[in-house]
Symmetry: C3
């Protein structure tokens, strides 16, 4: 039996908004340590990893490990029916083909039960090895979202280049080119406004803006985003979920040849 | 001659927004007692009844009973041109084929006259008999609108079940089922937040959500909605218009056979 | 070499929003006195004239007169990437086929360079003669925008009639007619709320609402709009840009014959 009671139910609503456009169907894995998900996006290019640790729930009961296959679009439809201040409880039974989401209003005057059919989903759990990154940029998540959106109006890919002084986001398209430079800045009034660069060596990598923009749907989950970069490793774009865990997005860089080609040959 | 001056002109704007999607053309009936309308929706399933009593107008002159056929879409277009703080005056003449809406800004610096062509509309005035209802639920209108909208994302019909303890709204669809229970609650800070149940006997009826959602376009007219239910009588969904009257929507329940069919046979 | 630094960069963003739907491609003319543009709309009916005087820039360097052909849609895409509080610098070089827009955030922590390709555009600079107008109406720009939008829901053209007492905006369409009268009013709390009429002789002219609505995209540039009217002269709809210049729109009236025809023959 499974019963997970999350007082700040809006977190689960935001998690679904963050990942539902990227992933159609996925297995949620429940164990004594937490509620998690790992899934490739529907075009098998990006990877999403979610963790909500058991300590973050007001009540967490998971008698034995369970994997529940859900259609994230349908799950999102149901969670949208929860109020932003509602307490959300996820309930499941061994062998049952449904999961129940219970929403309680803060005053307890309104109680809703939404029962959703589960799916059988084949999936392979990928081991994601710990890695050393050449550069890690921590910056305001809203700024990252703004930059990805702005560059998308000019081009299709973004080159992220990190030096000790700052991080540069560049693109080029038919109408011209764009470069946006953020300087390292740790002397801000609010810590979440800081741009912090931890760098072992300079790095410059190219990514598809389409996926970056998709990742920024997680912006409401956290004031900051952590971008970990290394040549020939997928970038990790991580949004922490306060006190509970994270949503991490992984995306492989475009290979250098492609990038050089873009840099030297003018687009027609 | 007809001249009806409504200081709170925004009420008339809201009335039109509430009914214009349900009813295309309708006769407005003016008598010494008030300005009223009764009309079936365009698919002849739901009935709308509006009353604005003469006492609610700052000035009310209606020399003899008149019936004015209007296209509600066109009337709404004109009323949208009135400011929310404008005074609205409705003017008509016996035998004229037009009606005039005059909008005066609070400062009297802007005066607008909109003249609309009238239509000949055949309509039969239905007598709506007074009836005893098995259960009457009064609840916040925004909560009712939210519930109808939420359930529409799951299914097409809503079962409304009233017991002494509360009212339950249920639906089912391809992706699962939903039940939302509101408890009777009269100990609230603001009276308009109360959920009050007056019940002679328990009742459970099924309605098309499409119409319920359409009725909730009247939500801005009143903080509360009153839902009167009896087996084999149309439900009445009533929004009071402060000090002046009401908009009432009538909708026949779906017959029990249909409901049972839905309950037992799985949808494909 | 050209380098124009505008501290209130949002002004340039608003200018582009005001004119980009009317004009596709245009030459911006830079001289020692200012940054200006004159262009016909794409259907060659309306004329736009923009002036940003050099004194309005924090830094203004223009070594010799330059004309830079830009696609306003692309320019708008780039300017949308500037924050509302950003300082915008326009940079160009003699003979270069690009222009650079630099955006600096108020804290200087974010610096963006957008480089846009220039175009060769044939254009003839029209001399706009100074003229005496029969009537000049100054009114709140938001009120003018509201009136044009409201009348568009009824008809296609607006008759603007000025007398000493006020200005009347009229239209007619299939569903009826509309007249909106604004009285001269100079005794208002805020000067920008005034409606001021300077009149040599009464005037009544007809214009296409489609263009008027397009002009009102400049509403955010100024709290007031100045409308200058004379028979057989194009109307001038002017939005001042604080301390710097203006955007002016010119539109020829519809000829009287057309108007009379509209007035006497009912539309089918």
């Amino acid at each position: 039996m499974l019963e997970l009671r999350l007082v700040q139910g809006s977190l689960l609503k935001k998690v679904l908004e963050a990942i539902k456009d990227l992933v159609n169907d996925a297995n949620f894995d429940c164990s004594s340590s937490g509620f998690s998900l790992q899934a490739m996006d529907s075009s098998h290019v990006a990877l999403v990893a979610l963790l909500l640790r058991s300590e973050g729930f007001e009540h967490y009961r998971c008698d034995r490990n369970m994997s529940m296959g859900m259609n994230l679009g349908n799950m999102s439809k149901m969670l949208k029916c929860a109020g932003n201040d509602d307490i959300i409880t996820i309930k499941g039974d061994d062998g049952s083909d449904t999961v129940t989401f219970m929403f309680e209003s803060p005053t307890q005057d309104k109680i809703a039960d939404f029962e959703m059919k589960l799916m059988d989903i084949d999936s392979e759990h990928l081991g994601i090895p710990e890695a050393e990154y050449q550069a890690i940029v921590t910056m305001p998540s809203s700024e990252f979202a703004r930059i990805c959106k702005d560059l998308s109006s000019i081009g299709d890919t973004v080159v992220i280049s990190v030096t000790k002084e700052g991080v540069k986001f560049s693109t080029r398209g038919d109408i011209g080119t764009a470069n946006i430079v953020l300087r390292q800045n740790t002397t801000v009034d609010k810590p979440e406004d800081a741009t912090v660069i931890e760098m072992n060596e300079p790095v410059s990598l190219t990514f598809a803006l389409r996926y970056m923009n998709s990742f920024t749907k997680a912006t409401s989950l956290s004031n900051t985003v952590k971008i970990s970069l290394s040549s020939e490793l997928p970038v990790v774009v991580e949004y922490k979920i306060a006190e509970m865990g994270y949503v991490r997005f992984y995306l492989a860089p475009k290979i250098e040849e492609d990038e050089d080609e873009n840099e030297t040959k003018p687009k027609v």
